[in-house]
Symmetry: C2
Amino acid sequence: MKSTPNMMRLTTQRQIILEELSKVKTHPTASELYDMVRKRLPRIGLGTVYRNLELMAENGMILKLEVGGTQKRFDATTDTHYHIRCTGCGKVDDIDTPVMDDLVNAAAANSSYQVVGHHVEFTGICPGCQGSGQGITIQ
Amino acid sequence: MKSTPNMMRLTTQRQIILEELSKVKTHPTASELYDMVRKRLPRIGLGTVYRNLELMAENGMILKLEVGGTQKRFDATTDTHYHIRCTGCGKVDDIDTPVMDDLVNAAAANSSYQVVGHHVEFTGICPGCQGSGQGITIQ
DNA sequence: CTGCATGCAAACCGTTTGCATCCCC
DNA sequence: GGGGATGCAAACGGTTTGCATGCAG
């Protein structure tokens, strides 16, 4: 039964990964997080970071952001909220447009899918990329 | 000047890729499209498919869907519309909820980004996956 | 003590790219 | 004829996984 979160061990790695993720308001990729965690746990492996992020996402402790771009990003804030992704540098920020839960109902009415959730992703140019030539700052 | 679409050559490959993509209402991945095209052009390379999809997306002839999941998907319909992705099998369908362009304005008001666009992605279980154990049909 | 979790490294998979050849304009 | 486009295969980058060892419960 997946709705009962399996009791996870409280390993040092797990705690520190969660701490570091909670510490930032950005939405780091796995390897960004790996770099952050490695400062405190130099021998940690990248695989461990991936495994724990996956596990914590499954248990609803964190959010795996299914946004555009090449890398997945992670978020310690699990309440529904929307994001904006810079097409210049790829970074992702929160955007505080009100969440529209009724969208799900509207969608459910028009679809043969059993609608579970939704996400709104804006694209734009972040302040840092606006100066430098329309955000063609690669990636 | 990127806004002037560079005149593209009309190669057989390009035409057939576009034809095959236009033919389906699904949103195939590059390799699904590769398989479709290969039936008519057995010697085409996967790289050619990727290069042309990228090029046509840049020129606004098709849409590269920046949706969740591991693979990018392509869409011959370029008008803004929303999608739903099955968390069971990963397939993506159109959903005909009205497009809310004012979302962009709302977002722009609350952000330091220069907001360019938006996309709404629903997640759910497709009819095919609803029967078989809550859509744990892998991928 | 026992089995889940870790570190490490190799495997994987989707995508990109270098290069010689091809062919559209 | 010339430069962009192709086919092929190798490289790439992000993610996953197998295995021996380690450590939380």
